[in-house]
C-alpha cells in the first residue's frame, strides 16, 4: 500500500509533504497513477494519461528540492486537465470524434501556469462533447461514472475533472464553466468547485464554447486547495484581451477571517423554484443558519429576472457556440470525409459526421436564433433579459456580500434518466444566471442526501472580482460544517 493516499491528503498537504521531504514528487506521481490503475476502469475520468509530462514536472520539483531552492506553491500536486485545454504533448479532443487524435500545438495559459506553479499534469479528463451537457454522457468516448455510485452520472460537462478529484486520483483539476460545468459536477461529486469571475482566468488555449460566458476554474477537496489553484492560474494574459487587469488577490490568506459581519443573502425566489428537491432546499436554509451562528448578518433577497436565465442562456450560449464551432471545417484540423465532391460537400458532411447529437442540437439552435427574421425575437431579446439579470445581481450586492442558492435542484441522477434535452438543461437553472452576469461562485459540499447518500452542494455567489470574500465565506462554512465527503469508492483498499 502506498503511503500517499490522495483520497485523504489535500493539495496543500501533498505540497508540504514534498517540501519537507516526507515523500518525493515522483512518489506522488506514482501514487496518482497507482490510484488511476486501481479505480479508473470503473470511473473513466481520464481520456489520456500524460506520464511523460507528469514525471518531467515531478523531476523538476525534486531537483529544486535537492538543490535547496524554495518550492513553488503547487510543487508536486497532481492535477487533472479537462480535455478542452491545450497542452503540448497531449491530445485535445473535447471528447469529440471531430477532434479525435488532435495533437496540441500550444499550451493553454491556465494549464501552463498550473505546471509552472509545480503541479504535475497527470492526464486529460473526460467531458461532455465540446462542454455541451450536464452529465458527461455526451462524451464520444464513453461516460464518466460518479465515484459515489457508479450507476450515477458525475455531472458535467467537467465530469472527468470532478470525478478524478472525488475518487482521489488527483488532488486538484481544471474544468471550464459556461453555464455551470464546474459547479454542477462539483455538487454531484462532493468536491469544492470554483467558477471565477469572467475574465479572472485567461481563456487562451481552452476550446471556445460561449466566449462571453466561458471561464476556467479549479476543483479541489477543500476551499484552501481551490484558493491555492486560483492564485496560480488567475491574472491578465496578453493572449486573451478579455482577461482582466485587476490585481490577483491573496485568496489563501483570506480564508481564516471567518464569517462574522459578512452580509449573507438567501436568494428566496430561486430557492422556491419548482423542481428543487425539498432536502436540497432545506440544506440552503441550514447553511444560512450556520452563517448566522458564525456571526454573519443573514437576510433574504429576490432575483426576479433570473427566472428567465435558462431561456436567455439557451439562446446566447448556443448562438456563441454555433459561431465558435464554425471553425471546424475539416480543412485545418478535425474530422474530414475522404471523398468530398466539392468544398461545400466537404464542410457539410465532415461536420455532420464529426459532431455528436448534442453538439448538432446546439449549433442548430444557435444558428436559428441568429438567422435573419429571428435575430431580434430571440438573440436580441435574450441579450436584454441578460441586462435585467445583471441589474438584479448588482442590486443584491449592494445589500449583501455573498448570496446562497443550491448548486443544483437535485443530487446526481442515473444514466439515461434525463434523456430529454430540456430536462437535462434544467440542471443548470441555479448556475446559469451567474455566468450571464459574469460573477464568481463556488459549490461547497453541504451534506449527504438522506435517501440516496449522494452529496448536496451549496452555491455561494459573490460580486465581480470578489473571490477573496467568496472563498472566505466558503472556508468559514466548510470549517463550521466539518463535513469531509469521501465517496465509497475512495475507501476501497488499494
Amino acid at each position: 500500500m502506498s503511503a500517499i493516499d490522495l483520497s485523504v491528503l489535500t493539495a496543500r498537504q501533498v505540497r508540504d509533504g514534498v517540501a519537507s521531504g516526507t515523500f518525493s514528487a515522483r512518489e506522488v506521481a506514482d501514487a496518482a497513477y497507482a490510484r488511476i490503475e486501481a479505480v479508473d476502469d470503473d470511473v473513466h475520468a481520464f481520456l489520456e494519461l500524460s506520464q511523460d509530462l507528469a514525471y518531467e514536472a515531478a523531476d523538476r520539483v525534486d531537483a529544486m528540492r535537492a538543490a535547496g531552492d524554495e518550492l513553488p506553491p503547487l510543487a508536486g500536486v497532481p492535477a487533472g486537465i479537462k480535455d478542452n485545454m491545450n497542452l503540448v504533448g497531449t491530445h485535445t479532443t473535447c471528447s469529440s470524434r471531430m477532434l479525435e487524435g488532435y495533437e496540441s500545438v500550444y499550451d493553454c495559459t491556465a494549464v501552463r501556469r498550473l505546471i509552472d506553479a509545480g503541479a504535475l499534469p497527470i492526464g486529460k479528463c473526460n467531458m461532455d462533447e465540446f462542454a455541451f451537457g450536464s452529465s458527461t454522457e455526451n462524451s464520444a468516448f464513453g461516460p464518466t461514472r460518479n465515484p459515489w455510485d457508479l450507476e450515477r452520472v458525475p455531472g458535467g460537462s467537467s465530469g472527468g475533472s470532478a470525478a478524478c478529484v472525488a475518487a482521489g486520483m488527483t488532488s486538484i483539476s481544471l474544468g471550464s464553466d459556461t453555464g455551470g460545468s464546474i459547479r454542477q459536477p462539483g455538487a454531484l461529486t462532493g468536491t469544492v468547485a470554483l467558477k471565477p469571475t469572467y475574465g479572472r482566468v485567461s481563456r487562451y488555449g481552452v476550446v471556445a464554447f460561449g466566449s462571453s460566458l466561458d471561464q476556467i476554474g479549479p476543483f479541489g477537496k477543500s476551499v484552501d486547495d481551490v484558493a491555492l489553484a486560483l492564485e496560480a492560474i488567475a491574472g491578465a494574459d496578453p493572449m486573451d484581451a478579455t482577461s482582466a487587469p485587476e490585481p490577483v488577490g491573496r485568496y489563501t490568506q483570506a480564508l481564516d477571517l471567518g464569517a462574522e459581519g459578512l452580509r449573507v443573502g438567501i436568494v428566496r425566489d430561486m430557492l422556491d423554484l419548482e423542481g428543487c428537491a425539498a432536502e436540497v432546499r432545506a440544506s440552503v436554509d441550514m447553511a444560512a443558519e450556520t452563517f448566522a451562528a458564525l456571526g454573519a448578518e443573514v437576510g433574504e433577497v429576490d432575483l426576479p429576472a433570473t427566472r428567465h436565465g435558462l431561456a436567455a442562456y439557451y439562446i446566447i450560449g448556443p448562438a456563441e457556440a454555433s459561431s465558435n464551432l464554425a471553425r471546424f471545417d475539416g480543412i485545418r484540423y478535425g474530422h474530414r470525409v475522404p471523398d468530398a465532391a466539392d468544398v461545400i460537400d466537404l464542410y457539410t458532411r465532415s461536420r455532420a459526421e464529426g459532431f455528436g447529437p448534442e453538439s448538432i442540437r446546439r449549433i442548430m439552435l444557435g444558428t436559428y436564433a441568429l438567422s435573419a427574421g429571428y435575430y431580434d425575437a430571440y438573440y436580441g431579446q435574450a441579450q436584454k433579459a441578460r441586462t435585467r439579470i445583471i441589474e438584479d445581481f448588482r442590486a443584491a450586492f449592494e445589500r449583501f456580500d455573498v448570496l446562497l442558492t443550491p448548486t443544483t435542484p437535485g443530487v446526481a441522477f442515473h444514466f439515461g434518466e434525463k434523456s430529454d434535452p430540456y430536462t437535462m438543461y434544467l440542471n443548470d437553472v441555479y448556475t446559469i444566471p451567474v455566468n450571464l452576469a459574469g460573477n464568481c461562485a463556488v459549490s461547497v459540499p453541504s451534506g449527504l442526501c438522506s435517501g440516496s447518500g449522494m452529496p448536496i452542494g451549496l452555491q455561494i455567489i459573490a460580486d465581480h472580482f470578489a473571490e477573496e470574500t467568496l472563498l472566505r465565506a466558503a472556508a468559514a462554512f466548510e470549517e463550521a460544517t466539518a463535513f469531509e465527503p469521501v465517496p465509497p469508492l475512495a475507501r476501497i483498499p488499494k
Binding site: 495533437e103 431561456a311 478535425g334 441579450q383
Partner: protein
C-alpha cells in the same frame, strides 16, 4: 414558436451540416420543444432595455505591437487532414456551385 422541417433544412444549410432525413425529423421535434420552453422571452416587456453582449464593462486592451514567434508552419499543419507539407489541401473552390 413551432419550427418546421423546412426551417430545419434551411438552418442546417446555414450551419453547414449535412443532416439525414431522420436527423431532420428528430431535430424538428427537439428544437420545437426547446423553443417552446424558451418562448417566455418573447412575452417579456424589455422595451428600452439595453442589450448586453459582454458581462463586464471592459475596453479593448492592446498588447505591445512587437513581433513574437507564432506557430511554425509544421505546427500549423500538424493536424491537417490533408497537406503536402507546405499548405492545406482543399477541393477546387472555383466553379463549386454554392447554393444561396
Amino acid at each position: 414558436m413551432a419550427i418546421t422541417e423546412s426551417d430545419v433544412r434551411h438552418v442546417a444549410m446555414l450551419a453547414r451540416l449535412a443532416l439525414s432525413d431522420d436527423q431532420v425529423r428528430t431535430l424538428t421535434a427537439e428544437l420545437s420543444a426547446v423553443l417552446g420552453h424558451i418562448d417566455e422571452l418573447q412575452r417579456l416587456d424589455l422595451e428600452g432595455v439595453e442589450p448586453t453582449a459582454h458581462p463586464l464593462a471592459m475596453t479593448d486592451r492592446m498588447r505591445a505591437d512587437v513581433v513574437v514567434p507564432g506557430l511554425s508552419r509544421a505546427e500549423a499543419l500538424k493536424n491537417a487532414p490533408e497537406t503536402d507539407g507546405t499548405a492545406f489541401i482543399v477541393p477546387a473552390i472555383t466553379g463549386a456551385g454554392e447554393e444561396s
